[in-house]
């Protein structure tokens, strides 16, 4: 099962509050530290949306500038992480919708499909390695072919950085809907893998 972030509520962090206060006064270093803390999660969020690392990084940069400009609109400084990641998600979705991104994705889709998946069991035999690589490629292909409504929450959950509540807030969908979509994505993946010969032998 996917590993989700801890389900407890975000605690008040005096350091974050202090950094946000400094950033509001124009302190770039403080804002940079805030970004640094959540940069990996932000890049994963963007990558889940656009699928290309270069597009994801550009979306994160745009989102950082937008967050810098809208910092006064952040009412609760402790909610900086969720607020920032939501901006990243929206920027990434905007980029995904852009025509240019479609062309870029189309032109580089072949290379991306052939990106090797390092899914190999530690004690795997050469046959198992071959099968595992085939399986990994098949899984990646199936995941990419999922409808966006299923793929987005599934990949966000796969990053392991977010709670279901965070994913629901990012996607603007009810919590129950998000949970159902993640489970449905897994079911569809398994069904397609089964059709491809990698499924559960019954």
């Amino acid at each position: 099962m996917l590993t989700l972030a801890a389900a407890d509520e975000p605690r008040a962090d005096p350091e974050v509050v202090h950094l946000v206060a400094l950033a509001r006064t124009g302190d770039r270093a403080a804002f940079g530290e805030l970004i640094e803390r959540h940069l990996t999660a932000a890049r994963r969020v963007a990558l889940a949306a656009v699928g290309q690392p270069s597009d994801a990084d550009e979306a994160v940069q745009e989102a950082s500038v937008a967050a810098w400009r809208r910092l006064d609109g952040l009412h609760d400084a402790n909610a900086f992480r969720g607020w920032f990641l939501r901006i990243v998600w929206r920027k990434a979705i905007d980029r995904r919708r852009s025509v240019r991104s479609w062309f870029d994705r189309f032109s580089s889709s072949t290379a991306d499909d052939q990106r090797p998946m390092e899914f190999v069991a530690a004690e795997a035999t050469p046959d198992q390695i071959l099968i595992s690589r085939e399986l990994a490629a098949a899984i990646a292909q199936v995941v990419r072919s999922l409808p966006r409504k299923l793929r987005d929450p599934f990949l966000l959950a796969a990053s392991g950085d977010h709670r279901y509540e965070d994913i629901a807030a990012m996607l603007g969908a009810p919590l129950g809907t998000v949970k159902w979509r993640i489970a449905e994505a897994r079911r569809v993946i398994r069904m397609k893998l089964d059709h491809m010969g990698h499924g559960d032998p019954r």
Binding site: I35, T40, P53, A136, I139
Partner: protein
Amino acid sequence: MNSTHDLSADLSAEARRAKVDRLDTAIDHVASRMVAVADDGEMTLRIVSALPERTSRLRWLIPQLAAIGAIAIAALFWTTRSNTRPALAALPTLDGPNMVGLANAVAASEPGTALRTMPLERLERLERLEPLEGDHERALSPMEAVAALLVPSMSPVEIPATELLTIAPIAVSDLPMTAESFSQQK
């Protein structure tokens, strides 16, 4: 026999469960790999260096406020424009010299026409007058032309110096000029 069958069924279920678990693990692993990112230690620096100058969140309101203020000032000026009159000059005081000058000016000026200040009384409604029909039967008879004065031409020397100049009286034929000549209207 049954125990052997149960054992094989259990082994089959166990194997199926193990494969399902392995497939789930593979799906999770591949999915997490799809959103994995390589470390980029300089990305934060690039982001910070690309940050623009921070502006006040109300800065976008400045043009709108300026426009509204200009409109308000213009409206205020326009509404108070008609009421604005130059300050009245101080009236002369009724001290000695001013009083004499004022009296002289009044005495020297001609009296003007008195203006009516009282409201006019409301006029009574006049009765409608019917036009009179012509009474051609009893109309005035045509008047004969007045006889022309016949003054014989004479030179100034022919005028007697001592006698009065007498002029024959003008003879006027019957001229109905009195009220009795008019017939009574029906």
